[in-house]
């Protein structure tokens, strides 16, 4: 704008001003029209940040951005790369690779992987340290496929009150894919885990500029070798039948069904058997939750040092209304279909209920095809707004262990485990 005004002649400047004032007049006319007839600007940009109240939007509020191998996604941060999946992509049970959310911790992540050099190493307290190329993984081990939800520990962090620092995700730090790869246990067996081993540690290509030995330098996670989740864990080289996008962990990533994504190491390149507890930052200090029901606590208890923490683990039951999303007004009397998804890290979703009065009365929705315990489960329910007005549609899921989504919020310092019942306002208009 500055350069533009500097370069135009006086006469042109007058013309420009004339056009600008004309534009202003038009804008004023449009604005007054909007005020009297309540004409919305359907494409008005979102605010650039939310808070200190809760983020009221389904997704976070960042702009769309184009990243390699990706569709335009919602930008949280550009270095490290954190991108959120827009709501409409959850209309399908399997989230497209190009729309799958992205969350790296550190700034120095791969732009390129050379498969002539790259190896997945199985090392540490083993009889025979191994180094597998991608073709070794593809050819020497049996391929297994499973559908599983990958959800960031901090998904929906922007709902917390008071707000907590961290990635201010809306609901889109999750996705469901059909993962294909080799069983972790088979790789461990090939190397031979020595007796007396305690943990298995995973490290990928998530590295940063921080000093050696600190969390800002290397990202590593680990689990107890006796953890039953490891029996389901695979090292995946296919995501929905295609190679993984680099931003989602090419060439292989860990898939730990039912567990939060922090354990799903991207571009996993070292599997390390440990004899001792893992005291690296990402296990000992980060990604920990209060050892309380639902992992909820208060800022006062944290301040008072009363909160004992444990590592985060399985994902609590959640469900979402995906469409209609409130972007259209529904004529009263018109029957529409409410559609959405549900999942739980504790077991299969067995029931989804919807309410159109904000949660007082509930009725069961119809469940979609069962793609496996840890997959998204689709649901749908017919719904007719009988009279014009504002409706609050609420949705809640129940899993096979009897966990029911609660209506109480969650709060912890990390901003983890949010699973409160979701609501969507839908407006029904007069049909005549």
């Amino acid at each position: 704008m500055e350069r533009m005004t500097r370069n135009i002649s006086r006469r042109n400047a007058l013309k420009f001003l004339g056009a600008a004032s004309g534009g202003l007049a038009l804008a004023n006319w449009a604005r007054s029209g909007r005020a009297s007839a309540e004409v919305p600007d359907g494409a008005k940009p979102l605010e650039s940040f939310t808070g200190p109240g809760a983020n009221p939007h389904w997704n976070s509020v960042g702009p769309y951005v184009m990243e390699p191998q990706k569709a335009p996604l919602i930008l949280l941060t550009d270095r490290a790369v954190q991108l959120e999946t827009p709501r409409h992509y959850f209309r399908t049970i399997f989230t497209p690779n190009e729309a799958f959310y992205v969350r790296w911790h550190l700034g120095e992540i791969p732009n390129s992987v050379d498969l002539a050099e790259w190896k997945l190493r199985v090392e540490g307290n083993v009889n025979k340290p191994m180094a597998f190329s991608l073709s070794d993984l593809m050819e020497k081990f049996k391929a297994v496929s499973l559908a599983a939800v990958n959800q960031c520990s901090g998904n929906s962090r922007s709902r917390m009150q008071p707000r907590v620092p961290g990635g201010q995700w809306g609901n889109g730090a999750m996705g469901n894919a059909m993962w294909t790869g080799v069983r972790l246990r088979e790789l461990l067996d090939a190397a031979g885990v020595k007796s007396g081993s305690a943990r298995v540690q995973f490290e990928g290509l998530d590295t940063g500029a921080g000093p050696k030995g600190l969390g800002s330098n290397r990202f590593m996670k680990s689990l107890d070798l006796t953890n039953a989740a490891l029996d389901d864990t695979i090292v995946a080289y296919l995501m929905n039948g295609e190679p993984l996008p680099v931003l989602n962990g090419f060439p292989v990533r860990l898939v730990v069904p039912g567990y939060f994504s922090t354990y799903w190491t991207k571009s996993v390149s070292w599997i390390r058997v440990l004899e001792t507890p893992d005291d690296n930052f990402w296990v000992k200090t980060a990604y920990r939750i209060p050892d309380t029901p639902r992992g909820t606590t208060t800022p006062e208890d944290v301040k008072a040092g009363k909160v004992k923490t444990i590592p985060i683990g399985r994902m609590p039951v959640r469900s979402f209304l995906i469409s209609p999303d409130g972007s259209s007004k529904i004529p009263a009397g018109l029957g529409v279909t409410l559609r959405g998804i549900a999942f739980s890290g504790y077991g299969k979703v067995v029931k989804v209920e919807i309410s159109d009065d904000g949660g007082s009365n509930w009725k069961a929705a119809e469940l979609g095809e069962d793609h496996g315990t840890y997959s998204f489960r689709g649901w749908q329910a017919g719904w007719t707004p009988k009279t014009p007005g504002r409706y609050s549609i609420a949705v809640r899921a129940t899993d096979e262990k009897g966990n029911v989504q609660p209506d109480e919020p969650v709060w912890n310092a990390g901003g983890y485990l949010w699973n409160k019942i979701e609501r969507q306002e839908l407006v029904a208009g007069k049909a005549n």
Partner: protein
């Protein structure tokens, strides 16, 4: 002029006028220029060689405009060693004590090489522009 009014008052003229009114009542049309007229360029298909290198090129750098003020330069030099300053603008407005704790975490936990006086300046800048009482954008 008089003649035209006469036409408007004939039954046909009244019908046309009423029909015109009805069209306006049924719809609002021809309005353009929404306030979010922006775009994202499409990405060209990459040219790959059939070798063992899987390269996706550089990631976009989208550094935000930070609030003007004393300490901005220090924030840009030191915070951006490890991460984009978008980590700051992405946060909700945070209370002064939280910004203090964040800067201290970056130094003590993550090893950010920030001299003490600079750290104080950085903290004051964040508290002065990104807190509930003063955050603008």
């Amino acid at each position: 002029m008089k003649k035209r009014w006469k036409i408007a008052l004939t039954p046909v003229g009244v019908a046309i006028t009423l029909a015109g009114g009805l069209v306006f009542a049924q719809m609002r049309s021809g309005s353009y220029g929404s306030s979010n007229a922006t775009n994202i360029e499409q990405a060209a298909a990459p040219g790959f060689a059939p070798d063992a290198k899987y390269d996706v090129g550089p990631y976009p750098s989208l550094t935000p405009e930070l609030a003007e003020g004393d300490g901005r330069q220090e924030v840009q030099s030191f915070c951006a060693i490890c991460h984009s300053t978008r980590y700051i603008t992405m946060q909700p407005p945070l209370p002064a004590a939280t910004w203090d704790a964040e800067v201290s975490k970056m130094i003590k936990t993550y090893g950010a090489p920030i001299p003490e006086a600079t750290a104080k300046k950085i903290t004051a800048y964040l508290q002065g522009h990104y807190a509930p009482e003063n955050r603008k954008e």
